[in-house]
């Protein structure tokens, strides 16, 4: 089985068959991760480069671990220590890396659409590790994987996505993935942090948190991007925590078997109560583990699929 596309840029245009294939492949990758010697030779001789124009702990490390477990060679470029500081353009940087023989570029970038732009100008596979406010497809996939792990099937599941929807690439990837797999998606956040006409994507939009959480099977809490407060889109972190934060009382409105998720990094006590973040119904740490399996699946399907 092969993926339809050479790049992983967004879940909007990913066929549902490819979503399914990645999730099923990730299932078998989990087995590798549980072995004592977590290394398979599948991607020996392949080279993967991470190119991050934004800070990241989990996503970049997750990709690098995934590549290493599969024996690919990895290089990472962080903007702070590269020629990007000398004013080199994205295109020149990418072509320079490519000229050294890289098979895959994994990029995070603050501007929406940058991975699509890059994919038109390089021959390596491009993986979007988060582009601006657009998408974060591998996060979306690992969230789907985590939900399936706990709930069996996503079809019919009531999933509430809570928080700063406007700036969230995680929200958009979750929405597309969940809608494709048949979930009932609700999004909620302060009216100034929800983008216009989101209903067209097939979701229910709320500007208060409570009705979105009520009866939900999964509550996925988004990080409040505190730097956005500069623009005055909401009055204060204090007010946000009190009226839009997910705490134990609000989570009580959800279904009895609710699954709590958060893509990290968390602002404890702001968008998510510290006590519930570490509760048994929280899958937050498991999301991180699953991230490695999902990324191994993607690397395998894009770089190793031919030999398999």
């Amino acid at each position: 089985m092969r993926l339809a596309a050479r790049h992983i840029l967004d879940l909007e245009s990913m066929p549902v068959e490819d979503v399914r294939l990645i999730l099923d492949t990730a299932d078998s990758m989990q087995e590798i991760l549980s072995r004592e010697i977590k290394k398979v030779p599948t991607l020996r001789g392949k080279s993967v480069c991470t190119l991050f124009y934004e800070a990241s702990t989990r996503t970049r490390t997750s990709f690098e671990m995934a590549a290493k477990y599969m024996s690919a060679d990895t290089t990472s470029i962080a903007t702070a220590t590269s020629a990007i500081q000398k004013g080199e353009t994205l295109l020149d940087t990418a072509r320079t890396i490519e000229a050294m023989g890289v098979d895959m570029l994994i990029m995070r970038h603050p501007v929406s659409g940058s991975c699509h732009f890059l994919s038109r100008h390089v021959s390596a596979s491009v993986i979007n590790a988060g582009d601006g406010m657009h998408e974060h497809p591998t996060q979306g996939l690992l969230d789907l994987f985590t939900m399936e792990q706990h709930k069996g099937s996503i079809a019919g599941l009531k999933v509430a996505i809570i928080g700063d929807i406007l700036h969230s690439r995680v929200a958009r990837s979750n929405i597309w993935g969940l809608v494709k797999l048949g979930a009932e998606v609700r999004v909620a956040g302060p009216a100034t942090l929800v983008p216009p006409e989101l209903e067209h994507l097939g979701v229910k939009v709320y500007h208060r948190v409570e009705p979105a959480i009520t009866g939900a099977d999964v509550v996925n809490v988004l990080r409040l991007q505190l730097e956005r407060q500069q623009r005055g889109l909401f009055p204060s972190a204090r007010e946000y925590a009190r009226y839009f934060g997910v705490n134990r009382a609000r989570l009580g409105l959800a279904g009895t078997d609710v699954l709590l998720m958060h893509p990290g990094p968390m602002n404890r006590g702001v968008e998510i109560g510290s006590d519930i973040a570490d509760a048994p119904f929280s899958a937050i740490r498991q999301q991180v583990t699953n991230g490695v399996a999902v990324r191994m699946a993607i690397l395998y399907l894009l770089l190793g699929g031919a030999e398999a």
Partner: protein, 432 residues
């Protein structure tokens, strides 16, 4: 005086009451006669099957000189204009140095005279340095040859400065051309705010960023009695506001671009963030596009302009947020209007003549816009049946930033005559 005879074309000028297969006789830079079976002419040009129209005037062009000659200059832009079927263009003052004084106006006019392609009518800055703080030397620029005032590219954020401009300019018969944009609403938006910006995660500019300012400027035009021209109208509300205040006697005109009539914000999604779709005002949602087309058909819009905004490839081959705003238009406008507006029944040719020649001349107070004996011999000759595929590599402009690459259109500029000089014929530029 040398004579030129253009024979057998479909000569059309509703304002002059001309519509038929006719000959046009030119002596020097003026039309001598329009009629059947005319004789004479040292040079006779055959125009059978072609439309012979009063010269098209593009009243919104960025020529980039002085300061940004790597994007375009007066000569290359003038040549692109002629290639695109325009006999005259207005150039905007956002140059470096800014065209906010007599010296720069005279320089640009001199460059145009030396280049000798299309007529170039400079538009002077409203405010010194486009800073939006104090009025530029408007009367002095008027005597140097400007035909209008604009801080185009930037809004006049100060309501008081806009009031002063409208009041001060009125006795000099200069329209104030408003780039209507509330900067606190547009902020750092890069596309229309709506369904598509939501799904692409790009910062949006609401339609109201324009319409709020259009409303403000209409009120100020009413207050001062000044003459207001709204540049590149892109929203349904703007059109409604203009129609309403015009009916109340406010002196207002407006223009629209082919790209706002033919493309919606969906183009940003369809091309996955192609920076050639990035323009200010942004490509709007389909409901706005429909409203603009309706208004155009109903005669609520006065002019079609290109807002030709050349940029170097390096300024477009970057991330969407970092790309410059703007697209070239001089060499695609006529084919887009012919193929997509006339060809699809939105407009007829008499309306096109009004929108691209008669009205612009009237708004600017310049000669032209009429094809009649005694008038300027400025003609746009169009082959309405020619099939073209837009290929930026064919452009004679220095820049190629168009969202229309690959479009297949019917109808193309075929001849351009400026002041009796044949600048282009049979689609080929005359060597100069």
């Amino acid at each position: 005086m040398s004579q030129l005879l253009i024979k057998g074309g479909h000569v059309l000028d509703p304002a002059a009451g001309v519509d038929g297969i006719l000959d046009v006789l030119v002596a020097g830079e003026r039309v001598v006669a329009v009629g059947e079976n005319l004789d004479g002419g040292d040079r006779v040009l055959e125009a059978r099957g072609k439309l012979v129209l009063p010269g098209f005037i593009d009243m919104h062009v960025h020529l980039r000189e002085p300061g940004f000659e790597y994007k375009e200059d007066v000569a290359s832009g003038g040549r692109a204009a002629v290639r695109g079927g325009f006999t005259a263009i207005c150039c905007m003052p956002n140059t470096q140095p800014v065209m906010d004084n007599r010296t720069v106006v005279e320089f640009v006019r001199g460059q145009a005279a030396r280049a000798g392609w299309a007529r170039v009518y400079p538009v002077g800055a409203i405010s010194k340095g486009l800073k939006g703080e104090e009025l530029a030397e408007i009367a002095d620029m008027r005597s140097a040859g400007i035909v209008g005032l604009s801080d185009d590219g930037k809004p006049v954020a100060s309501t008081e400065l806009m009031r002063l401009a409208l009041q001060y300019a009125a006795p000099f018969d200069l329209p104030v051309i408003s780039h209507a944009e509330d900067p606190t609403l547009s902020q750092d938006g890069v596309m229309h705010r709506g369904r598509v910006s939501s799904l692409l995660g790009l910062k949006g500019v609401p339609a109201e960023a324009e319409s709020v300012m259009v409303a403000r400027d209409l009120l100020l035009a009413g207050l001062t009695g000044g003459s207001l021209h709204i540049a590149h109208v892109s929203t349904a509300q703007s059109v409604e506001l203009i129609a309403f205040y015009r009916s109340r006697g406010v002196r207002v005109t407006c223009e629209v671009t082919p790209h706002h009539l033919l493309l919606s914000d969906q183009a940003v999604r369809d091309t996955w963030y192609d920076t050639c779709t990035k323009v200010n005002p942004p490509l709007r949602s389909p409901d706005h596009v429909d409203a603009l087309r309706r208004a155009l058909r109903e005669g609520l819009i006065d002019a079609i302009v290109t807002d030709h905004a050349p940029h170097h490839q390096d300024e477009k081959l970057v991330e969407y947020d970092y790309a410059q705003f703007g697209m070239v238009g001089l060499e695609t406008a006529v084919s887009l209007v012919a193929g997509e507006l006339v060809g699809k029944g939105v407009l007829d040719w008499p309306q096109v003549v009004a929108l691209m020649s008669t009205h612009p001349a009237r708004i600017l107070g310049v000669e032209g816009g009429r094809l009649e004996a005694g008038g300027l011999a400025d003609f746009t000759v169009i082959d309405p049946g020619q099939k073209v595929t837009v290929d930026p590599k064919d452009f004679v402009s220095k820049s190629r930033n168009t969202p229309f690459a690959g479009w297949q259109l019917t109808g193309a500029p075929w001849g351009t005559v400026v002041g009796g000089q044949v600048m282009m014929w049979e689609g080929t530029l005359t060597a100069r």
